[in-house]
């Protein structure tokens, strides 16, 4: 099984290296082949919003940069990890610019899912999502919004499972909780792929 970590650490923000290290360790011990993309080091332009990836070059973004590679890696993973500073309850700019470039992975056609319209699948399988938000100091309201957002994303990205948790940035960061979270979703993804 493959897991892809999208590390959305900001250019002038705090480092998420130690957290990503704990996530990687646990994923590997759960039999994942792990790859991490430190997004701030990659050239990924903002989406142009023109839907050319649906009606001109179906399935591929018209911008030829690392955004294409990131999308190819994501769709061929069983699990994607969003690792991000929580920004007003949402994702960091670095993570979001990559996510905005993922819409070529779904179909333009509309489909009703649990009473609401969404887009149809383009591929048969999509990765489950583990979202790890990090805040200097936990704000409950933002933490709640973050979890709600991940749930919404899992519908639009057709993910079988999703888990989301927000952690406080601390010098003595306790990796036990995060490893437990990784284990929970790894087991679910593992069962699905058996």
């Amino acid at each position: 099984m493959k897991a892809l970590i999208l590390n959305g650490e900001e250019v002038d923000g705090f480092s998420l290296k130690h957290i990503s290290k704990s996530i990687k360790e646990e994923l590997r011990s759960c039999d994942f082949e792990v790859e991490e993309i430190l997004l701030k080091e990659k050239e990924i332009a903002d989406c142009l919003g023109l839907f050319k990836c649906w009606v001109k070059t179906p399935g591929i973004c018209i911008i030829d940069d690392y955004g294409r590679e990131a999308a190819a890696k994501l769709i061929n993973s069983e699990l994607v990890v969003f690792l991000t500073p929580v920004t007003f309850g949402s994702y960091s700019y670095q993570l979001k610019k990559a996510l905005d470039r993922m819409i070529p992975l779904i179909s333009p056609y509309f489909k009703k899912i649990e009473g609401e319209f969404h887009h149809r699948k383009r591929y048969s399988k999509y990765p489950s999502i583990l979202a790890v938000g990090v805040m200097e100091k936990i704000k409950q309201a933002q933490s709640q919004i973050f979890k709600e957002l991940v749930k919404r994303n899992s519908i639009n990205f057709h993910s079988a499972y999703c888990e989301a948790e927000v952690f406080e940035m601390a010098d003595n960061f306790d990796s036990k909780k995060i490893k437990k979270l990784v284990k929970v979703i790894s087991e679910k993804v593992g069962e699905q792929n058996d």
């Binding site: 903002d46 989406c47 142009l48 919003g49 023109l50 839907f51 649906w54 009606v55 001109k56 070059t57 179906p58 399935g59 591929i60 999308a71 190819a72 769709i75 061929n76 920004t87 007003f88 309850g89 949402s90 994702y91 960091s92 700019y93 979001k96 610019k97 996510l99 905005d100 993922m102 819409i103 992975l105 179909s107 333009p108 056609y109 509309f110 609401e116 319209f117 969404h118 383009r122 591929y123 048969s124 399988k125 704000k139 309201a141 933002q142 919004i145 709600e148 957002l149 919404r152 994303n153 639009n156």
Partner: protein
């Protein structure tokens, strides 16, 4: 008494002038102008790309009383560029006010979000994010106008849309009144603006599906529309 003097419209769509965000925001801004408020528009995707422009932009925000943001919904939340802009604003406000414990709340912030799905309710998480931003930046949050079916517009001004946009126009006119008075959007604004432009919803999705096919046909890729270019053997067919 109306005390506001300056309003700025931030357009958060990469499509710039051709976006639905620009049509909505510009109409609202023109109504705000009728209250003798001086106005300005900024296209976030093209106008804050250099350090010099960013500094100028942040100064402008500090000189403004009313900030209106019009943006599309991207992946259930704010487009990346909008997150970046709001982070810059919040950071700048914190730095300016570092010697005060609380940020002043003499500036107000209102949002218009439009999305491509027919249900305007799909914007609800984004509004929560915008409200958190307002809190962190020390702006008074006046509320959000939520619009679905963004696909019907494609660069037209609201007035060119005929009967389809009449409720929306009325709602935006009332919203301008709330904005200049620094009132939270009244129920009538929310009620008018959230009415679906096309009813029933399935007509919108039917026409939408047809429009994707038609555009692909014109681009000579109709038969490729369901292609899976990143399919890995035996994994994703």
């Amino acid at each position: 008494m109306i005390k506001f003097k300056k309003a700025i419209l931030l357009i958060g769509s990469p499509k710039g002038k051709d976006s639905f965000s620009a049509s909505l925001g510009s109409y609202l801004l023109s109504k705000v102008e009728e209250y003798d408020v001086s106005i300005e528009k900024v296209y976030l995707h093209s106008e804050i790309n250099t350090e010099a422009k960013r500094i100028q932009f942040l100064d402008k925000i500090e000189e403004t009383d009313i900030i209106i943001l019009a943006a599309p919904l991207y992946v259930d939340t704010l487009p990346a560029k909008v997150i970046r802009t709001l982070s810059l604003i919040a950071e700048n406000r914190k730095n300016i006010n570092s010697d005060h414990s609380d940020l002043e709340t003499d500036k107000s912030f209102a949002v218009i979000v439009n999305c491509g799905f027919p249900e305007a309710e799909q914007n609800k998480t984004a509004f929560k994010v915008y409200e958190q931003f307002a809190k962190e930046a020390g702006f008074k949050y006046l509320g959000g106008i939520s619009i679905g079916m963004g696909g019907v517009v494609s660069g037209r001004s609201l007035l060119e849309m005929g009967g389809m946009s009449s409720d929306l126009i009325k709602g935006l006119e009332r919203a301008a009144d709330d904005i200049v008075r620094s009132h939270r959007f009244s129920d009538s604004v929310i009620e008018k603006t959230s009415k679906p432009m096309i009813s029933p919803k399935w007509i919108y999705t039917l026409v939408g599906n047809f429009s994707w096919r038609y555009q692909a046909f014109q681009n000579r890729v109709y038969r490729k529309m369901n292609d899976k270019p990143y399919r890995r053997e035996k994994f994703n067919d």
